[in-house]
Symmetry: C2
Amino acid sequence: VPDADTLARLRARLRDLIGDDAVVDEPSELAHLGHDRCRGEWPVAPALAVLPRDTPSVQAVVRACVEAGVAMVPSGGRTGLTGAATATAGEVVVSLARMHRVLAVDPVGMTLRCQAGATVQAVCEAATAHGLLYPIDFAAKGSAHIAGSIATNAGGIRVLRYGMTRRWVMGLQVVLPTGECIETGGPLKKDNTGYDLTGLFVGAEGTLGLVTEATLELCVPPAATVVALCAVPDDPAIVALFTAVRSSGLPLSAFECFDERGLHHVQAHRGRAGEPGPLEAPAPRYVVVEIEVARPGAEARDAARASLTQVLTQASEAGALEDAVVAGSAREAAALWSLREDISESLHSHGPHKADVSLPIAQIVTFLARWRPLVAQTLPDVEAVVFGHVGDGNLHLNLLRPPSCEPTDFHRRMKAFDRETFELIAELGGSISAEHGIGLLKREHLHYSRSAAELQLMRQLKATLDPQGLMNPGKIFAAG
Amino acid sequence: VPDADTLARLRARLRDLIGDDAVVDEPSELAHLGHDRCRGEWPVAPALAVLPRDTPSVQAVVRACVEAGVAMVPSGGRTGLTGAATATAGEVVVSLARMHRVLAVDPVGMTLRCQAGATVQAVCEAATAHGLLYPIDFAAKGSAHIAGSIATNAGGIRVLRYGMTRRWVMGLQVVLPTGECIETGGPLKKDNTGYDLTGLFVGAEGTLGLVTEATLELCVPPAATVVALCAVPDDPAIVALFTAVRSSGLPLSAFECFDERGLHHVQAHRGRAGEPGPLEAPAPRYVVVEIEVARPGAEARDAARASLTQVLTQASEAGALEDAVVAGSAREAAALWSLREDISESLHSHGPHKADVSLPIAQIVTFLARWRPLVAQTLPDVEAVVFGHVGDGNLHLNLLRPPSCEPTDFHRRMKAFDRETFELIAELGGSISAEHGIGLLKREHLHYSRSAAELQLMRQLKATLDPQGLMNPGKIFAAG
């Protein structure tokens, strides 16, 4: 934590450099800018926040902080779920919210250039305005900044078809921890000229530098999609249905699962507890399948619908599903999707403890067959709700706080149980963080997914790029 | 260059460590193992070669070399085109040819694990045996080792659809320049746990460590493909046709162009110079279009053929093409493809000087409109043949040696002309190496594509991983 004199001098210097109105020290505004959506056992304690308007101002801020020996925390839309954008010890929060322009779209090369603070939604809309698609799609995209989505390698609901954010980042402008500005990569599909510097910054959670601009790849959007909801008897049938649909050659764009508890909570949240569900009879598990229709026109859409119906009928005959409905319109499709997408919100009032894990797809069944009884045995009063992206091997595990359990006590029990979950994940070759990252929340558990040799190499890279350890210290791994 | 004593001690030590038969110093065998397909102004001068049988032996070799202070050159199938696998100054060539097993295929997770020395072809065949596809496809794949394709981030003819090798590498086993063995990543589609160490080694040309095993992603193959050959009036029409076909939503898997000179040489090479070409009238430019048919059966194939015909007819009405033929069978498709694929071989006897460059697609027309006259003016006796992967912005420029020009003189003139080509490329925001890499061949030109700040960061990374500079020194950038 910097002392008062250092801080006063730095504040004055920053005001000189980037203007009075771009330096924030009003406590409530500071507290607001100083953390993301994950609140843990750490304090929220930024010393200052700055809101630079351009890249040279970002460089000036970094140089002034380095000179003063004060650490920085990059801040975007603050929708992260691990505390990676939280200032805990007198850091300067560097918010790029004022650098939010989409700078250019190249419709022939299908690339887009934007500033760090453009929201993912704004990028998607700029692509759409040119008849193109930026295919990263996750719940917080209306608030999340593109640079934050790059720093956390955001995933979402269409990773199965389009991959993670990493795949779409072609080039970056980064202000390094020295204050130097570097352009990596660019709008080229092929460029084998030395090391992949761009990839080093994707998913680095702002610990290696501040992303100030990005060049992104875009693609041709599908003409339409076809959506089905399937009732499935058990966890093994989910994976069996997935492999059946995938091997049919249908252009799958999403394959999402949830359990009967998830549907229950969505219906309860809508004030419809006990009413009939979307299919004739309740089922233990549900799957949302979405396929793409490449070519425009009703004929292509009808043909896709017929193909999906045929594949699901065959799967039904093989016992992988009990019932299914294929949406007949965009409105029906949205209604089916909402059953999956509304789960998180429906659980909110239960203060759920979440784990975002991934597994080799072939291990999903084994994991659930061991994890569900582990919950029942270790946490008999706790309800588990599981949903996830089957095609990515990514499960979101939710443990709901029983009304009888005090939040502090629940938190303590959950922290202890995390170890059991992560040990099982590690045993089955999975990851303790599929798409949310590490931040402050999971750094003590990183060893379950990364070897000592990997951690050492990561620390070496960190020390090479940020020898003074002033760029988002303590995130991913403990500082020093 | 190591002195004779050091070398004698190292040879004895290596024989002790990995066996007499795994250490090669017989001159002709050594010369054979000591270089790739690119022969330049550098000597081929390895001191020794080793052929370890497993990863611990690779580690032992690396440790012994480090102890002796002798540099190493990783060697795969030696099909590279930049000298990246060439030993020039008494290095130990580390060939992983004996580590060539495909270790496992996970058909549910669609991943494959193999050793470094498995050929790309062997990996493709192992995937096919499970009904899956490893989609990297380039001419040398029968000889190229998978680790070499990873170290050079190989591209090829289906990058438009499937991306470069980088996209398919999920995890690596790497013996670092210290001799330590590290496992990075693994068979998980989503794993946001710290820096992307895997990506650091892809495309690093063996300068950061020796890749000894790899986990690769596989995908569902298309049921079939449909291929067309189009006659196109000029370079702008090539790009216009590309954007028209792409925006139609057809699932494009290749879009390759070549000029009339390319067709001429293929026909001459087949002893058919002057005979009618594949279309009614000769055309200035040709394009091979390939689309995928996802679902099996004649009906789906016929529908795809009809769709492609419709899109090409519309493009013809818009003036983007003069004539086209859609292959009616796999045999016809192979015949059309061969017109593009046989160009390289047909040029071989002309000792062509090659450049592998890329551009933003929107700049291809501008580039060719300036480069073709530049050749005509600067090299009036030299014939230029251009072909390439339009959808990737990747052009292969070939300049043929006139019989009247001595090879040495030709080489000198080509080296001088390279500068003019690369300056134009740099001005238009392109890359001096799209898919071949840098190696020894292009390191003096790397500054055309990478800034001083990028080069400095690359050198910092190199120094961090290889502080003694013993792992493939002098490749990508000059040693020291």
